[in-house]
């Protein structure tokens, strides 16, 4: 375009092309905003749905009584609450040390090649469908024997390990190098500096990762359905030989039933589980923000 063709006296307003670009831009921005609003709205709708339907099922009896013997209304889900706590506690006792040790191996000991292999293994494990892990534990512990609480715990532990290892590893990498160097300069042996200096500095992040993993495990249904689902109305003492009642499988079973009182109990149990999981998530996030600030300052 030569200078002679430009009308320098024309008012500075958007030409058709610029107007079109602005409209496209506005459109794109609105689509992005609407998508974000929609995601938050879906969360709100699901949580509100569970709260509004579950709230009238919740009572002291619901939280502390056994379920009704032959179906029907009334009764509570106390054994399922205790059972889930038990299964998840044992799973945590298995997964937390394993996950933290794997993380220490990755950050403190492993060479590049071993590190790559283990990190890949963790990612693969993390990406496995949970029902596959359930069938694995079935083949390992249940086939030819009985369902047991232990089998449920092991399946949940396998799901938790990569989560805890990943979170711990991230936090261990954040521990400033000069802390390690200071310990070295004082002649502290390596294992003492790891146990006494590095781990305590990363403790906040490790606990956060564990809490998030617990929240995830508490709601996992597929593996528990395969290895720990045929249970009575009581928590048995026989953790190694009998299935233990638990909340996720209870919700699943009740949701497959076709009667209104079962649905009410399912909503109540869902509310209990969702409350625990959301609170654990919020708490873990707050803790993580705090410990990150402290460690990187």
């Amino acid at each position: 375009v030569s200078a002679a063709e430009i009308d320098f006296t024309a008012p500075l307003t958007a030409s058709g092309n610029l107007r079109r670009r602005r409209v496209v831009n506005l459109l794109a921005e609105s689509v992005a905003t609407v998508a974000a609003v929609a995601a938050v709205a879906v969360l709100g709708i699901v949580v509100a749905g569970v709260v509004s339907r579950g709230a009238h099922a919740i009572s002291l009896d619901f939280l502390t009584k056994d379920p009704p013997l032959f179906g029907g209304p009334g009764g509570g889900i106390a054994p399922a609450i205790v059972g889930t706590a038990l299964i998840v506690a044992v799973a945590t006792a298995i997964a937390m040390p394993t996950g933290v040790l794997v993380a220490i191996f990755l950050t403190e000991f492993a060479g590049p090649r071993a590190g790559r292999v283990i990190r890949l293994a963790l990612d693969v494990l993390n990406g496995l469908p949970s029902i596959v892990i359930g069938l694995f534990v079935f083949g390992l512990l249940v086939a030819g024997r009985h369902q047991s609480g232990l089998a449920g715990s092991l399946a949940l532990a396998i799901i938790m390990v990569p989560l805890i290892a990943r979170a711990s590893q991230e936090m261990l990498l954040l521990v400033p190098q000069h802390l390690r160097e200071a310990a070295d300069a004082l002649g502290v042996s390596r294992w003492r500096s790891i146990v006494g200096v590095v781990l305590p500095a990363a403790l906040g992040g490790i606990v956060t990762g564990t809490v998030l993993a617990v929240a995830r495990a508490a709601g996992e249904t597929a593996p528990v359905l395969v290895v720990c689902s045929i249970f009575g109305n009581q928590v048995t003492v026989d953790f190694f030989g009998k299935a233990i009642p638990n909340i996720p499988v209870s919700i699943f079973t009740l949701s497959q039933a076709a009667d209104a009182s079962a649905f009410t109990r399912a909503w109540g149990a869902a509310l209990v589980l969702l409350t625990f999981i959301l609170l654990a998530n919020i708490g873990a996030r707050a803790l993580l923000a705090r410990s990150r600030r402290r460690i990187t300052r």
Binding site: A39, V102, L135, S255
Partner: protein
Amino acid sequence: MVPGARLVVRPRPRAGRGVRRVDRVGEALLFGLCVLAALAVTAVIVDIAYQLVHGAQPAIAKYGLGFLSDSAWKPNFHIFGAAPVLYGTAVTSAMALLMATPIGIAIGLYLSMLAPRAVRGVVGPLVEMLAAIPSVILGLWGILVLAPFVRAHLEPWLHAHLGALAIFGDPQTSGSSVFTAGLILTVMVVPIIASVSRDLFLTVPQELQDGAAALGATRWEVVRGIVLPSTASGVAAAAFLGLGRALGEAIAVTQVIGAGSAVHANLFATGDTLASRIASQFQGAIGKLHIAALFYLALILLVFGVFTNLLAQWIGHRFDTRTAVAR
């Protein structure tokens, strides 16, 4: 020095033999435990593959790879084939991915480029919270709240307006359909793609974006010209992660898909996926062959899961090296 005092050079206890032994033991112990834990992780993966092959052995021996194309699944007659569930898995996952990828990327863009700082701090965690809802609760909501709504409003509307397409056929069920399962999976996959792509978009160098803006590009043109091209492979990796999640989801899908065993083009009919077939039939399995067939399904699921995961890793790794070179 005080007269008479004798300087005694006592041999100092050498930096403690005992202490050093403690150190040696401690060092070896910690290292040993770490290696053991790392080995356990890899051993579990290998053992998973072994257990699934072992469990599926009777079905593998009887059907071989023909299992993948057989379409009959009649436990009472000991006839098993995986074609319908493979089809159901493909349809539900494709539907979830087609809807969740654009939505997830849009949310990622909103969180990384549009949202004010305060809003970002609230909306980001809320989107991730969506991923924290257990699938069994999402499924309960799906079957009792979403499915009736879909049946009453969404399916008739789509059928009336887009009924010419075979996928939007006559609504056939009470709401438990492949379509509803796809919607639930979308809800599960969106937060994964959204949070990964947000983190990716935040890594795009600000000076590149500023440069484009200085040349007069609108925000959308910055996104289209700079942000998306430089993160494309990372976004693809995020989509694969989401696909892995959609392929393997068992519980929520079982609750809403209606456990059909036929292949329909119509999304508004019932169906079943690999994972949901296992979840719904494993407890009541009749006979060894039935269990073996379900193990076979899990083996296919394992292969898919590992494959999508490795693909995501590989693509993501390419992204890492490329941006490292660019800087």
